[in-house]
């Protein structure tokens, strides 16, 4: 299996959240298939870019924001564009 690039890993993480509607951080880490240190890096980046949001309270849940959904919609366009221009 080819090594996933950053854009693909982000897409996979967002896809897991989308499929579950909302998910806790630990199962998300398990299903995303990346090391915990890498996951933390991506998780913080996704929060910072406002692709995901955490619900406050005791049971922290993660959900997608509009930007997160938009990323998933545009993912194939991004990949095709990068591929087309060899970026």
């Amino acid at each position: 299996m080819a090594k996933r690039n950053k854009l693909e890993i982000i897409k996979d993480i967002l896809k897991i959240i989308q499929n579950n509607h909302s998910i806790k951080p630990t199962p998300l880490l398990r299903r995303s298939n990346v090391s915990s240190s890498r996951f933390k890096e991506y998780y913080l980046e996704l929060l910072e870019k406002e692709f995901i949001k955490e619900t406050s309270g005791k049971n922290k849940q993660i959900t997608l924001t509009k930007k997160g959904y938009r990323y998933l919609e545009k993912y194939s366009a991004i990949i095709n564009f990068i591929d087309e221009f060899e970026l």
Binding site: R70, Y71, I78, F81, F85, E86, L87
Partner: protein
């Protein structure tokens, strides 16, 4: 007296406008407008892809076309001034203003070319200081153009620039495994060749006069084909 002066100003403006709209400057304005529009459409059309992905390749690609738009703006500005005052060289007409405009044009032109190369090569050139090196090289090229008022120097600089670009692209193309990248490299190489013709056209007026329309048509074709590729991919 007042009405006489008003009529004279009106006549002058009318003559100026008529001169401006004559065929050669008309072609020049349309040509620049289409290229600037294409470049800005590429720049703004890819904004969302960059904002979502933060991909460096997309960033450098967009910046390249922003520089192309700015360079073409200054190029057409120089051309219109030269045409309006019926002059051969902008520096002979307006020494300080001409030198500044030419400097900005050369700097933006070089940066557009360097950023387009970097958009393809950034994964191989890991060093962050390369961008600063590009700015330095563009600055040096612009300074040389200002200091040396020699056609041989202009041609030599553009030839060296082309050899540098061709060498990088040839190396990159040989390393690329994708078949379709062949078309992209041809488009980019043509873009560089005709962009250099556009630069020579400004630096050495009348040097490429015979082929001007041909250069304009090919340049338009190249920019439109890149825009088409972009639109096809971004949807």
């Amino acid at each position: 007296m007042v009405s006489m002066t008003g009529r004279a100003v009106g006549q002058g403006l009318g003559q100026g406008l008529g001169k401006l709209m004559s065929s050669s400057i008309g072609i020049e304005i349309i040509y620049s407008f289409v290229i600037i529009l294409c470049s800005l459409m590429i720049y703004f059309g890819t904004r969302e892809l960059y904002k979502l992905s933060s991909h460096k390749g997309i960033k450098y690609f967009r910046q390249s076309f922003l520089f192309f738009a700015l360079a073409y703006f200054f190029r057409s500005f120089i051309k219109i001034i030269l045409f309006y005052f019926d002059a051969g060289e902008i520096r002979a007409l307006l020494p300080i203003f001409g030198n500044i405009t030419l400097f900005i044009f050369m700097y933006f032109s070089s940066m557009a070319i360097f950023y387009l190369i970097y958009s393809v090569m950034w994964k191989k050139w890991k060093s962050k200081s390369i961008v600063y090196l590009f700015h330095l090289m563009a600055f040096a090229i612009a300074i040389i153009i200002i200091l040396f008022r020699n056609q041989f120097v202009y041609l030599l600089i553009n030839l060296l620039l082309f050899v540098f670009i061709a060498f990088i692209f040839y190396k990159s193309h040989r390393q690329s495994k994708k078949k379709k990248s062949h078309h992209l490299y041809i488009i980019y190489l043509l873009l560089f060749v005709f962009w250099i013709f556009n630069i020579i056209d400004i630096l050495i007026p009348n040097y490429l006069q015979t082929f001007q329309l041909f250069i304009y048509l090919i340049s338009l074709g190249i920019f439109l084909s890149i825009l088409y590729k972009v639109i096809r991919r971004i949807g």
